[in-house]
């Protein structure tokens, strides 16, 4: 097996665990609604309470995403966002923050067209810690997962309710950083996960791996985040933040004075809820 790279993700999850709480993982789409606003927001997330940042790479055909993130990607693309600009954004972010872990999340085609080797070199140099690529299951590990691990980037795998005990080892084999548990069968931002069921699923995954398990897809409110945080190592919130952002845009999808604040304010409430929740399960 390929050696797992150690990144900011490992340090941050360890720190949160020592504090007896889950990590808050926040998702925003890079370049939504424009590069400058998105960069300002990105830089504001850690102070607002984000422990880990997932930066969405816009794609025209996001088959695992619900309407909120689909629309965010299209807004970003319309404003001229590209993968190169997203990497540049990370480079800018790292000038003032060298500790918050940052993961790129998206689909394979933009990376494939950018060129896998060039992408890994540029992403690593920019300060990216890990990758979540929705349409690359373990069956396609040769494409990006194994080269990424070799380049020192964590490859974070999605585990889902359909991933049974027989398949889990395959899914976990080349995973690094953390395991992203998709709490529902469905697309991002759709159904609300049942915290008890999710807790059992996290426990099941943890029987197979020492990696932290973060839970996402469908977590929207501070109360839901707290409920999930009681039984997981991390809580991912995405669509709710995108909705908060969208709510501030003008009639032509442009940012307004309230755009960044609307998102950071929700992040603050989510962070408070997550930080106020003790982890139940022992490691």
């Amino acid at each position: 097996m390929t050696t797992r790279p150690i990144t900011r993700l490992d340090h941050r999850f360890k720190a949160c665990a020592s504090a007896g709480r889950a990590a808050l993982v926040t998702f925003i789409t890079a370049g939504d609604p424009d590069y400058d606003t998105s960069l300002t927001l990105l830089k504001a997330l850690p102070a607002a309470g984000a422990d880990i940042i997932e930066l969405g790479v816009p794609f025209t055909d996001p088959m695992a995403d619900g309407p909120a993130i689909q629309a965010a990607g299209l807004r970003a693309l319309k404003a001229g966002q590209t993968l190169a600009k997203t990497i540049a954004m990370v480079r800018e972010f790292r000038k003032t923050d060298d500790t918050t872990p940052l993961v790129l999340m998206g689909y394979y085609n933009p990376v494939y067209i950018y060129g896998v080797d060039r992408f890994l070199a540029d992403a690593k140099a920019a300060g990216v810690d890990g990758l979540v690529v929705v349409d690359l299951p373990p069956e396609e590990d040769n494409e990006l997962c194994l080269p990424a691990l070799k380049a020192g980037l964590a490859f974070i795998r999605l585990a889902t309710p359909t991933t049974d005990d027989k398949r889990l080892p395959t899914v976990l084999a080349n995973t690094a950083g953390f395991v992203y548990y998709v709490s529902i069968n469905g697309i991002t931002g759709s159904a609300t996960p049942d915290a008890d069921v999710v807790g059992q699923a996290v426990a099941r995954i943890k029987r197979h791996t020492a990696l932290p398990v973060a839970v996402g897809f469908g977590v929207r409110t501070p109360a839901q985040a707290a409920a999930i945080a009681a039984g997981a190592d991390g809580v991912v919130v995405g669509s709710a933040l995108i909705d908060a952002l969208r709510g501030t845009l003008d009639g032509e999808d442009r940012a307004t004075a309230g755009t960044v604040g609307a998102v950071t304010s929700l992040v603050g409430q989510l962070a408070e809820a997550v930080r106020g929740t003790r982890r139940e399960a022992a490691e």
Binding site: V134, P138, E139
Partner: protein, 410 residues
């Protein structure tokens, strides 16, 4: 299935045709496509499944479809050809199948498979509506729930098929995301599948998507080529010299081509939709105007920009309006075994009218693209050259659209 076909090259066990194909799907779907692969392999080996298929194809679909010598079309093209030139043109009459196109061949196979797997809810994507109609039809036949995703643009331009699907008891969901055409319908179907994994079977309409779909759909459509082989042997005592078919995703073409891939004397032409012309950028010709990328579960030629963002295809034909192509075609293109050319909207429209008048057969706009290239190729070939064009669908569904283009109000 003909045993000889198991000697064909692809796909390998990971679903690859050369560098193309594969399984580029979200983890939620992986266990499902692995199950599907297993179920399909088991069905292939089960004589009961084959018997059920054969019976359905004969008594419900109406196979075999005729191989018809298009005499007046042939003579017409000979008139404008140099002496001794003008290929003898045959139509493989897939438009005579129940539901009016080749799509039903594949749907029957998948629906029988879904039944074996105990799935009760069927979803499908559709462009022109031919695959949607075929799926709605077989769901009615077997009492299964049917949901068809169709781009909102296509819902508007293919109104007769939308109504047919509803008559058959299917729910038609207009898809408004992206460009509101076939690729977006496929995105939406995949989102449905991810959400309803437990009871839902995704009946993909073409030779694309994650493994095992491209190979499986090709197997179901290969009956077109197998019959053509036998029928040509009966009528002419030999193999055809060339095959020609239109390509969106490429299932009617793959079905005709596949049984002839190992016959080097048989020339193979696939016709993509050139829309307003390749230089205009408004077309659906992935092989001619695209490059390899990853979308909808497979690596294949795709229309995209320099950032890897998928661009919108354009074609007069809703069934060809897709920015990708089945991975096996990409591989046949790269290996040079098949030649891929393209026909514009205007060329297809004139072929549509010409063949209607000469043969009393109104073709769908999709095979009209293949017919447009027959008009170009046949006069350059000798009179004893046997050319088979796949008449993959009938044009009834296109009447309102063509009437509007020609300025006739119905």
């Amino acid at each position: 299935m003909n045993v000889l076909n198991s000697f064909r090259t692809g796909p390998d066990e990971n679903g690859h045709f050369g560098i193309f194909g594969g399984r580029f799907v979200a983890e939620t779907l992986m266990p499902l496509i692995l199950d599907l692969e297993k179920a399909y392999e088991a069905a292939k080996a089960d004589p009961a499944y084959k018997a059920e298929m054969d019976s359905g194809l004969k008594h419900y679909v109406g196979r075999p479809s005729p191989l018809y010598y298009a005499e007046r079309f042939t003579e017409h093209l000979r008139k404008g050809a140099p002496a001794g030139k003008g290929a003898k043109i045959y139509f493989k009459r897939e438009e005579l199948n129940h539901t009016g196109s080749h799509k039903v061949n594949n749907v029957l196979g998948q629906i029988l498979l879904a039944r074996r797997m105990g799935k009760e809810r069927i979803i499908a994507e559709t462009g022109a509506g031919q695959h949607g109609v075929a799926t709605a039809t077989l769901c009615a036949r077997y009492g299964l729930k049917c949901v068809v995703y169709m781009g909102a643009v296509d819902v508007a331009r293919q109104a007769p098929n939308v109504f047919r699907m509803k008559m058959l008891g299917a729910e038609v969901v207009p898809v408004k995301s992206g460009s509101s055409t076939l690729k977006d319908a496929m995105n939406e179907a995949l989102r449905d599948w991810v959400t309803n994994v437990h009871d839902t079977f995704y009946c993909i309409g073409t030779v694309a998507g994650p493994h095992p779909y491209p190979g499986m759909v090709r197997d179901f459509q290969s009956i077109i080529g197998h019959e053509t082989r036998t029928q040509m042997e009966e009528q002419e005592g030999r193999l055809p010299d060339s095959l020609i078919a239109c390509i969106g995703g490429g299932s009617n073409a793959m079905g005709l081509f596949h049984p002839f891939l190992d016959d080097p004397t048989v020339q193979i032409f696939g016709v993509e939709a050139a829309g307003h012309g390749i230089p205009s950028g408004q077309h659906a010709a992935s092989l001619t105007g695209g490059r390899p990328g990853v979308l909808h579960g497979n690596r294949t030629y795709l229309l995209m920009d320099d950032d890897g963002q998928i661009t919108e295809a354009h074609s007069i034909s809703a069934g060809l309006d897709y920015p990708g192509i089945g991975p096996e075609h990409s591989w046949l293109h790269d290996t040079g075994r098949a030649t891929y050319i393209s026909a514009t909207d205007d060329e297809a429209l004139s072929a549509f009218q010409l063949v209607s008048k000469l043969e009393g057969i109104i073709p769908a706009l999709e095979p009209a693209h293949a017919l447009a290239k027959v008009i170009e190729l046949a006069p350059t070939l000798p009179e004893d050259h046997l050319m088979v064009v796949n008449m993959s669908g009938r044009g009834d569904k296109d009447i309102p659209q063509v009437a509007e283009i020609l300025g006739t109000s119905l």
